[in-house]
Structure formats: C-alpha cells, structure tokens
C-alpha cells in the first residue's frame, strides 16, 4: 500500500514543489471513464467519471460530474462532484456543486454554501492521518 506520508511536505516554504511531484502530471479520468476496483496513486488524481472502489491518493479531486462510490484516503480531497463513501483526509474541501454521503474524517474541512452533505464529520488530529497508510476498515 502506498504511504501517504511520503510526500506530504510538498509545499516548500518558498512555495516551490519538490521535483518528484512536478514530474508527475495528475491522472485524469474523463467523463466517459468508469473504474471498478482499487486505485492507488502517488500523486494527484482527478475524477470526472465514475469510480467504484477504494482510492488512495496524495490529492484527490472529484470534478463536477464525477462520481465516487467507496472510501478515500488522501492528504487532500476536493469534491465538486458526488461521493458516496468515507473520506480520510486532513484537508477536505467540499464545493457548492458537491453531493456527499458518508463520513468525513478530517482535520480541516470547508464546505461551500449550497453543497449537499449528508453524514458525520468527525475531527481527527493530523497525527491520525500520518499513521493512516491504508483504510481502517473497522475503525470509526
């Protein structure tokens, strides 16, 4: 399983990314793409299509029109589309166009006016996510 802490310090003080991060362009899953299974990415993933299954990423973006059914573990999650499942991420942003159903484990969350969120949003310290290198199937 990929460790999500590996490149957590991508933001240098002077605002420059590390080279490894810069080399890898984000993966894009277009509106016509559907995936069923486990997705692991050591980088950024943008979903405009449909994903059913687990996702582990450094940064996950569910674009408008995108739909994810399943659990997400990431350093950062941005949702403009729809999600049915749990989020485990220190930073979560939910845009106005989003529809989220499920728990959102977070350290810092923002919800834009107009977003539909149905579920609990348990707060966790950052350390909780540092040790979280895979989905805690039975943990709350």
């Amino acid at each position: 399983m990929l460790t999500l802490t590996r490149k957590s310090e991508v933001q240098h003080p002077e605002g420059r990314t590390m080279q490894t991060e810069a080399e890898a362009p984000p993966s894009l899953l277009g509106p016509g793409v559907g995936i069923q299974g486990v997705l692991e990415i050591d980088g950024e993933l943008v979903i405009s299509g449909v994903v059913k299954g687990r996702i582990a990423a450094l940064k996950l973006v569910i674009a408008p029109g995108g739909y994810v059914e399943g659990d997400i573990v990431a350093r950062e999650v941005v949702i403009s589309g729809r999600l049915n499942g749990r989020i485990f991420a220190p930073t979560v942003s939910i845009a106005a166009s989003a529809e989220v159903e499920g728990r959102i484990f977070h350290t810092s969350v923002s919800v834009e006016r107009g977003a539909r969120v149905n579920g609990r949003m348990p707060w966790r310290p950052v350390s909780y996510f540092d040790t979280l290198d895979q989905l805690p199937e039975n943990r709350e």
């Binding site: 362009p25 984000p26 894009l28 559907g34 069923q36 299974g37 692991e40 950062e76």
Partner: protein, 192 residues
C-alpha cells in the same frame, strides 16, 4: 462534456443547481484552459471549484499517469492513455498503452496502440504494436501493424469479429452524456 464549459467562459451554465453565489468562479485561471502550468498545480493552496476544469479542460483525453495503479476493471467511452499499472481488464475505444505502462488482463478496444507491456490479451479492430512493446498473450484483431523490436509471445488471431461471440464488447459510444450509467450498466459483462 463538463469541462467544455470553461471554454465558453460560463462555467456554471450546465449546472443543474439553482444559482449560487460562487465567489471563486471568476478566477482568471479558469479562463485559460490551455494553460499548462501543471508542475505548479499541487501546491496551489486555494481550493476552488474552478480549479479542476482548468486542468482537464485543455485535453479531454483521460490519462492514467505512471503513478497510478488500478486493480480492477476500467472501461471508457473515450480515448484513454495508460502510463500506469492496471491489473484487470480495460475496455475502451482508443487505447494507448505507453512505454512504461503495464497491463495484466485483457485490453478491448477499437484502436489499440501498445508501446508498453501487456500480459493477457488484446482484442481490438486495429492494433499497433510499436518497437518498445512487450506483449505476452494472444492478439485478436482485424488489422495489425507490428514494428521492429517488439516482443510478442503469443498468437495473432485475425478472426476478431468473424464470430459474434468474440466481438469486443464495446461501450456505447453514441451517447456519452450520462457517464454514471456507463459503468453501472456494463460492469458485469461476461467474457472468457
């Protein structure tokens, strides 16, 4: 189709929701779909709705980057570029498998270009095996080109489409409007 919106300059036009005050919308970045400043993307601290269309708006093609590993089934009604790892079947229209990519499973498509590694099978009308390709398994095709240097361990079978059972199951290409139903409808499609 969603991402086409930012080209028209009114990103919220197709949104079914009632009009909302989106303060983040008139970002200058959203108006430049050709902007290719991808390396700077991950550190952008501001998280907005308009950020996402910016990145994907330039090219609609789906990209499985080399950092991405998928275990499971992938299907696409649009062209797809695979540079990562996939364990499972791939169903697409135009499928390009890059040099560093690795697919374990069957690749279905109309037009498959292979430069990487496939362990499994290819079923496509048109197949291009480039010199860097490494193919282990059979290739069902109607039309094939193999470049010098390619490694193929398997049979080339030109019978694709001759018998109905072997016809590559194609996802509906005519109407890609509802992407949600594209997966739900055909995930359990039986094969071999």
């Amino acid at each position: 189709m969603i991402f086409n919106r930012d080209k028209s300059g009114e990103p919220q036009a197709a949104q079914p929701k009632p009009a909302q005050p989106q303060t983040a919308q008139p970002q200058p970045a959203a108006l430049k779909p050709d902007q290719t400043a991808k390396p700077a993307e991950p550190l952008r601290p501001a998280i907005t709705t308009s950020q996402t269309p910016t990145k994907a708006g330039a090219n609609m093609a789906s990209v499985i980057s080399k950092a991405l590993k998928i275990t499971g089934e992938l299907e696409s009604t649009e062209d797809i570029q695979i540079d990562g790892q996939i364990e499972g079947d791939v169903r697409g229209v135009g499928v390009k498998i890059g040099q560093n990519a690795k697919v374990k499973g069957t690749v279905y498509g109309d037009d498959v270009e292979l430069a990487g590694t496939v362990e499994g099978k290819i079923e496509a009308k048109k197949v291009l095996i480039s010199g860097t390709a490494r193919m282990t398994g059979d290739i069902w095709h109607q039309d094939i080109k193999v470049e010098s240097g390619a490694y193929i361990n398997g049979s080339l079978k030109p019978e694709l489409g001759k018998s109905d059972a072997k016809q590559a199951p194609k996802p509906a290409t005519a109407t890609t409007s509802s992407n949600v139903s594209s997966l739900t409808g055909t995930t359990g499609a039986p094969h071999h």
